[in-house]
Amino acid sequence: MSQLAIQRLKQLLRPEQLLLRSEQLAAYQSDGLTAFHQTPLAVAVPETNVEVIALVRLCHEEKLPFVARGSGTSLSGGSLPVAGGIIIAMNRLNRILKIDPVNRIAVVESGVINTAVSVAAAPHGLYYAPDPSSQTICTIGGNVAFNSGGAHCLKYGMTANHVLGIKAVLATGEVVEWGGASRETVGPDWCGLFTGNEGLFGIALEITLQLLPKAECFHTVLAGYKSLEEAGDAVSAVIASGLLPGAMEIMDALALEAAVAAVHAEYPAGAEAVLIVELEGPREVVAEDRKRLDAIIAASKPIEARPARDANERMAIWKGRKSAFSAVGRLSPDFIVQDGVVPRRKLGEALRRIGEMSRETGIRVANVFHAGDGNLHPLILFNGRIPGDLDRAEALAGRILKMCVEMGGSLTGEHGLGMEKRDYLPDMFSADEIDCMTRIRAAFDPLGIANPGKMFPGPEAPALMQHGLHPLEKAGVISRE
């Protein structure tokens, strides 16, 4: 059957659009979750939406599994290939079709890079808000598939909150268009349902995004504390004050050590935790809010608080934060990133318990997290060359996930379930609820050909294990949220 499918693919695409040789396929074996890899049957590289639609219809007719892939930065194994299936690589569909400053929207193809939208919108004083740490390389199509987050979700929401319209080809081959240039709709929110489908419904072809006016003014403070708990207390005080910062991030001692090693970030001496808080808005508003914030931070008794004095200092603060994950690669040959969510008031308890689990198991865990929205990012360090180390790390990751759900939180704040967390779905949802989601998936994809083996626990197991940083990560090209 696969030979017939390849024959049909050859008829559909030019030879250079179809990768079949093993050395070509090797580049697509893995994504941001490097612990898994699988070789696809072929990689198709469409250049037009017409070709994408034809590919999906071919897959439907041939019952051929397909995985749409942007830049392959998924941390949950969302774009991991399926054995016997093809990869549809969306990277060449990278045209920004429209920047409309009057309606404050952008219309883009799926393969457009996240930051490219803001770059194109900048001459109009506009930007695209969602900012996953991989934003310089990840694609909007992938962001839509996984409802990606970033550091500004408490105030601005996730990808879904910025998607106004979607043209997509569903796994049945049907082409749909929902929403459009307006920020409002009537009828059920189909764009909302599609966003975050993890590639199980079909492939987005064109996406209409809302753009926001760029904030005129920022006030970014970095404060060092003697303990994680004190940093957490400062976050609680900010929340209680009624301020609504654009971002609140915390890094623990191990993450700080990594950032110092990787990008030569400088942090207050003796700090066991660093808090970053950012206000934004019109200068008059920031000037007033800043007085309140500075008073709150001063009252929280940091070792030192450093407000960024200019745009360069602000960028340096964010560089240290956004590089923290890949920087951890300098401390350990391998690590797993979790992204469970806990209610914010339980952050202190969650971190204490993670610390206890770390000591109990002897596995080092670094913490970098979105403190404003309770989204944890424990980095579980291990060495894949030591037999059993990966298994122990995964067992610890599983305990942390279960703890998040028990505390009333979520398995994932922004990375998605993908391959990595699919087995934990029953910890968060009942059998009936999973059945309901399965039925919805079947409505979009009755044959189960779109990214099978992801999100739902099941036997469709793909993959071998490997270890180490993604090659692009080692090169410093990408970083993890």
Binding site: V176, D189, E284, S410, F429, I440, A443, F444
Partner: protein
């Protein structure tokens, strides 16, 4: 079928769904057209109350029949609010009905509409199963986003029993400016320019009255005067007193303006009330089209949504054709017009998802209306 069931609690509601072959959930019926369909009504009137509210989490969970008034008051006591700015609050709108109708108020301009603040739903599907989707924390990416799908779904895919929302701290003060455009084309210019400016307006509505645009600033008191001065240097207009401004916004939230004559009660079916998505660059022509039918029109959220009040005897066939020509979809909230007017899409997936959630057609389909 004018039967109304009023279950006392969620368990009774589940039982009522299981034992009734054809039904539709209703709240306090402030948007009566949405449930005007031949089916047993399942009232959420007794499913009221806030189940969880932790101000430091910026979230609350409440039963679907909870009046928004109760929620707004509870949040206000903690200095918080629902940024999507719910409508018909004073008239008794419920949380569940507001989700099912998908209607947001002028305040949606700044941070987004109802869809941007809903986090989780508990609902009964067509098979009579009580299900929860989404997560009760402000950030969650686990599972399909059915909470968003239920926004605007008109109760045709399940009965909502409980909803979780994200909330925000309420700004310290607010200041409203009434801007005046000389002509409709200037009105759209003001909408577009003000929306892109550095001021970060909280609301921006082109009122039914001539060419008046209400612009709301929120934030620290000390900052607002300086911002207001800059805006009034750019566009002609004036500051409103707090009392006048509150009355103005309240009139919009309660659709007070949507009366055909002064004597009408805005709740009675004295006019058609329609909702349409639009865009800043097309809202003026849509407004003119609707005014030609004798309508009063509110262009809300910086030109992204139009609410129109048309006389009951308006020629809806022609309205429908005009809206189709403009490619504008339209939902009738009140009055005896078809539920849907204007542009529609007809994708096979809609029926497939309906079947997934309600295989037995226990709830009327989106197309069905009396």
């Amino acid at each position: 079928m004018n039967t109304t069931l009023t279950p006392a609690n969620t368990a009774d509601l589940v039982e009522a769904v299981r034992s009734t072959p054809r039904l539709i959930a209703v709240g306090s019926r402030t948007k009566p057209r949405l449930s005007a369909v031949n089916a047993v009504r399942l009232s959420t009137a007794r499913l009221t109350g806030i189940v969880e509210y932790e101000p430091s989490e910026f979230t609350f969970t409440a039963l679907a029949g909870t009046p928004l008034r109760e929620i707004a008051d509870t949040l206000a006591a903690q200095g918080q609010y629902l940024p999507f700015d719910p409508m018909f609050v004073a008239r008794g709108a419920t949380l569940g009905g507001t989700v099912a109708s998908g209607v947001s108020g002028p305040g949606r301009f700044r941070f987004g509409g109802l869809r941007d603040f809903i986090l989780a739903v508990q609902f009964v599907d067509g098979a009579g199963r009580l299900l929860r989707m989404g997560g009760k924390v402000v950030k969650n990416a686990a599972g399909f986003d059915l909470p968003k799908f239920f926004v605007g779904s008109l109760g045709r895919f399940g009965v909502l029993t409980e909803v979780t929302f994200k909330v925000f701290p309420r700004h310290t003060s607010r200041l409203t400016l009434m801007l005046e455009a000389k002509a409709p084309e200037f009105a759209t210019q003001i909408l577009s320019q003000a929306a892109s400016a550095r001021w970060e307006l909280d609301a921006l509505d082109w009122l039914p009255e001539a060419n008046h645009i209400a612009a709301r600033l929120v934030g620290p008191t000390e900052a607002l005067d300086a911002l207001a001065e800059e805006i009034l240097n750019r566009f002609p207009g004036e500051k409103l007193t707090t009392e006048v401004a509150d009355e103005q916004w309240n009139s919009l939230n309660e659709f007070e303006w949507a009366k055909v004559s002064k004597a009408d009660d805005a709740k009675s079916e004295s006019s058609l009330l329609l909702k349409m998505p639009t865009t800043p660059d097309t809202c003026a022509s849509l407004r003119r089209t609707l005014e030609d039918f004798g309508g009063r029109v509110l262009v809300s959220s910086g030109g992204n949504v139009v609410f129109a009040s048309l006389p009951l005897n308006a020629d809806v066939t022609t309205v429908d054709a005009k809206l189709r020509g403009l490619k504008v979809p339209c939902l009738t909230l009140r009055g005896n017009a078809p539920l849907w007017l204007g542009a529609r899409h007809d994708f096979k997936i809609a029926a497939a998802v309906k079947h997934a959630l309600d295989a037995e057609n226990r709830f009327p389909s989106l197309e069905e209306c009396d």
